[in-house]
């Protein structure tokens, strides 16, 4: 079995996690920029974080034979502070040409505030200006449906945003259809308590087909599971899905979306 982990916050994980992922068949990892679990006090903290994402973490992943890619942004949880957000946005261009950067993400909304919306719009402008893919974080729990709809309104109203170059992550049963019907990619996140379990995720895949969907663990510093994607693969096998269908979902789909960035290399091609 081979799979891509398209959303893992590896700076928060141990080398044991890298080892477990490599042993489970992981072929590449993509790391969106995210909240550290606490608010950073200045743009300097983000400068260091972007260095970590673009320079240090790829070396750590390489020790396990894993290509490591990243996405850059200030996440919505820290976007309420507009002054900080402006400082961080102005840092991004100096990192955007790093060879492992895939795009702008994970941007989006957290509590659906006006400031979060403004910073989201600025990130989208940045992505358009530098011709980057976009990875969107949708809000948690009761805020998700409203936030997903607001985010899609902003994306759809921008004449230069192409939905097939945007993945809207953390969809659940009440948001997945709207996201796919609007032409975007949808990410299903596997979490032990919130978001989706492997069984619910596979139900969604069976119900909505799997043409523009990926699965991810979104493993970070909180309760999360770096090998959640292979666990969903076990669930698909239990239900009798073919190896070919599973491979096209957990390997083929991420490769198809991510290959829209010239920086992403199909791991299979790198091996041969």
């Amino acid at each position: 079995m081979r799979y891509i982990e398209p959303h893992g916050h590896m700076v928060s994980r141990t080398t044991d996690d890298y080892q477990a992922m490599a042993m489970a068949g992981c072929a590449a990892i993509c790391e969106p920029a995210f909240w550290a679990g606490f608010d950073r006090k200045s743009a300097d903290g983000f400068y260091d974080y972007f260095c970590q994402l673009t320079q240090h973490e790829p070396k750590r992943a390489a020790k396990f034979g894993l290509p490591h890619y990243c996405w850059l942004c200030i996440n919505p949880k820290e976007s309420e502070d507009m002054a900080l957000a402006q400082d961080v946005l102005s840092l991004i261009p100096q990192f955007i040409n790093s060879p492992t950067v895939l795009g702008i993400g994970e941007i989006g909304l957290n509590k659906n505030t006006r400031n979060e919306m403004k910073v989201l719009e600025q990130h989208i402008e940045l992505a358009v200006k530098y011709d980057q893919l976009i990875l969107v974080h949708t809000p948690h729990l009761e805020d998700k449906r409203k936030g997903t709809r607001l985010i899609m309104q902003v994306l759809k109203s921008h004449p230069k945003v192409r939905p097939e170059r945007v993945i809207i992550d953390h969809v659940e049963e009440h948001t997945i259809a709207e996201v796919l019907d609007a032409g975007f990619w949808a990410g299903i996140t596997l979490y032990p308590e919130s978001k989706a379990t492997p069984t619910r995720a596979v139900d969604m895949l069976e119900n909505y087909a799997a043409q523009r969907v990926w699965l991810n663990s979104a493993c970070d510093w909180g309760v999360s599971d770096p090998v959640a994607v292979p666990k969903a693969v076990v669930e698909m096998r239990r239900r009798g899905h073919t190896a070919k269908a599973i491979d096209s979902l957990v390997y083929g789909n991420p490769v198809r979306f991510l290959s829209q960035s010239p920086n992403f290399k199909d791991p299979q091609a790198l091996l041969s």
Binding site: N110, N112, H140, D143, K146, D181, R239
Partner: protein, 100 residues
């Protein structure tokens, strides 16, 4: 609309096969839910909006259709559509606090 995918081939699955795969897991989760409600019964003080939301979702489990999860998630969602001025917290509780 999205196109069909080989993974969608579920038409031939019988109710017995689904039960064989998932009944024990569902049984365990239902008992856990019952135990949670019992534990609440033995606790003191007013009920908060999260539990109100959970109770409001229970009838949806018995309704017809194959979209119970979506219906419950819609029930618990913030029904407003305009961005808010400012957030007083970073987190979410799991159920929209205004739920009746």
């Amino acid at each position: 609309m999205s196109q069909p995918h080989p993974l969608t081939a579920t038409a031939g699955r019988s109710k017995g096969q689904v039960a064989d795969l998932h009944f024990m897991d569902a049984r365990s989760k239902l008992l856990d839910l019952a135990a949670f409600l019992d534990r609440l019964e033995r606790a003191t003080g007013p009920e908060d909006h999260r539990v109100r939301g959970l109770r409001a979702a229970l009838p949806l489990l018995l309704a017809a259709g194959d979209d119970r999860v979506a219906k419950i998630l819609h029930l618990w969602s913030d029904p407003s559509s305009a961005p808010i001025e400012k957030a007083d917290t970073k987190s979410a509780s799991g159920v929209w606090p205004g739920i009746q």
